[in-house]
């Protein structure tokens, strides 16, 4: 059989559900968002602490931070980690082993990896009441003190169990600190604060209907020490050509940008992100919600052609009247293996 025909016949069976069909056909312009869980924007627009809620990737598991890094790398690239990536991830990872038990629920901050503007932490939760029939959530929002100017925190999460009743929570805390290195604002004494006050459970695919399992106070204060194992590459100012009309998203709005040359200032590439400043010329009017901004994702391109996309966020620097933009990598990267960065459609060599 012709491959295209087989593909089309196979995927023609994939159709929107009758419920979705009915909702769309009965939509009115006054409709609120579809009745699903709230979707949070990945952008940091102001100084705030974001309470993290779990994400689950069934494919990612393991009992150590390195296991999760290896699984995440495979999910992103379809490949195994290189020796250099393993070296950087191992060097950045520190054992914490801080445990707090409340009402029989023991939460352990197992280990963490400290990047330039991002921290990855693995938590472990053990108690007698675990049931494989439920998924669990422990919140685990966090922030670093003393905080850098502009340093709001956002992040992503992951959750799994090891099949024997131990839950694992992976949390990534990313910041847009205006001085870019989140641990350089003072001479030291940095702490990652993670207050958790409730363990909840919910049925698969029903995250909005959570039940409280235990109320408690699992407040972690984890000292942070930066480990410089990968260089910070300074690319200076970079011009980006936008050759054609381009679409972008700010909180879901779709916009159109005119062709032109844009200037990114002080671009740096680190083990945890690529970041740069840009001025308000980038701001464009969006007909639905007013002023918004182009936030292209940066992609790291490695020597073997592997690509890793960052998650972009930004913060407005009031004093300098410019944005600081970060695209945080999903996991720590060996900067030495990055041969170029692609921002929007422009590829920038990294020497």
């Amino acid at each position: 059989m012709n491959d295209k025909k087989l593909y089309q016949e196979t995927f023609s069976h994939l159709r929107a559900s009758p419920d979705t069909r009915s909702k769309i056909m009965n939509m009115t312009i006054e409709n609120k968002r579809t009745p699903r869980r709230a979707v949070r924007t990945a952008l940091i627009a102001a100084i705030l602490t974001v309470a993290l809620v779990t994400t689950a990737f069934a494919a990612l598991s393991g009992r150590t931070l390195q296991d999760w890094f290896a699984g995440k790398w495979n999910e992103e690239t379809g490949k195994d980690l290189t020796a250099e990536q393993i070296r950087v991830m191992n060097a950045l990872t520190q054992k914490v082993d801080q445990s707090i038990t409340v009402n029989g629920v023991t939460v352990t901050a197992d280990s963490l990896a400290v990047g330039y503007d991002c921290v990855w932490v693995l938590f472990r939760v053990e108690w007698d009441g675990y049931s494989p029939d439920y998924k669990y959530d422990l919140g685990l929002g966090g922030y670093v003190t003393p905080s850098s100017p502009g340093g709001g925190y956002s992040g992503e999460g992951d959750e799994w169990d090891d099949g024997s009743g131990t839950l694992y929570f992976l949390r990534k805390y990313a910041t847009s600190a205006l001085n870019r290195d989140m641990l350089s604002y003072t001479d030291g004494g940095y702490t990652l604060n993670v207050p958790a006050c409730g363990l909840y459970r919910y049925k698969e695919n029903d995250m909005l209907n959570k039940e409280l399992v235990e109320l408690g106070s699992w407040d972690f204060s984890i000292p942070l020490t930066e480990k410089s194992v990968s260089p910070v590459v300074e690319l200076g100012d970079v011009q980006i050509e936008v050759a054609e009309k381009n679409y972008a998203v700010w909180d879901g709005a779709v916009q159109r940008f005119e062709p032109g040359t844009y200037s990114l200032q002080d671009v740096i590439v680190t083990c945890s992100s690529v970041s740069y400043y840009y001025d308000e010329m980038f701001c464009k009017k969006d007909d639905a919600s007013g002023v918004s901004s182009w936030l292209p994702d940066a992609v790291a391109i490695l020597s073997d052609g592997t690509e890793i996309a960052g998650m972009t966020g930004g913060v407005w620097d009031f004093e300098e009247s410019r944005y600081l933009m970060n695209s945080w990598w999903p996991l720590p990267m060996a900067v030495e293996e990055i041969v170029s960065i692609r921002i929007g459609e422009t590829v920038i060599p990294v020497n």
Partner: protein, 160 residues
């Protein structure tokens, strides 16, 4: 947009939006959510579409963006095991079942370009514009996807 035009566009493109979202997220629930969100945006959009192709590309672009946004969201739901969902699709032959499984086993970044190429019959240049990647990246992704399918299904996949 008047109701009649909206209904006509929804009838024509709803399954396309769903298929792109499913290929991206491999979750029927998330794909349904994205489909609703995309058509709500279409209903509210003030864009003056110049042609059928324009609205199709707009819908694809919004779908991709919505999927990316959902993927990055810490609120993302769990996926449904492929086995249980595949059973609801009423696939007709073992070849279809094999292909569905093998496509879903591909890395995420290959699945959407593959769908846009083989099902929607878009060119690599059109796909590149829609997913905001360079045409050469899209060609590489399609090549690697075909190679993997060829290896697993033991069948040659054409590049036309």
């Amino acid at each position: 947009m008047d109701k009649q035009s909206f209904h006509a566009l929804a009838e024509e493109h709803m399954d396309m939006v769903y298929r792109v979202a499913y290929n991206s997220l491999v979750s029927p629930h998330d794909a349904d959510d994205v489909t609703q969100e995309v058509f709500l945006r279409l209903l509210r959009s003030k864009t003056e579409f110049e042609s059928g192709e324009h609205v199709k590309h707009w819908l694809l672009r919004v779908t991709i963006n919505e999927c990316r946004r959902l993927t990055r969201s810490p609120w993302r739901r769990h996926t449904v095991p492929l086995d249980s969902f595949e059973g609801t699709l009423q696939l007709e032959t073992p070849e279809q079942s094999d292909l569905f499984r093998q496509v879903m086993a591909l890395p995420k970044k290959y699945r959407v370009p593959l769908y846009l190429f083989y099902y929607e019959e878009l060119s690599t240049e059109e796909i590149a514009r829609i997913i905001n990647r360079s045409p050469s990246t899209v060609r590489t992704q399609l090549y690697r996807a075909r190679q993997q399918l060829k290896d697993t299904l033991e069948e040659e996949w054409s590049n036309e």
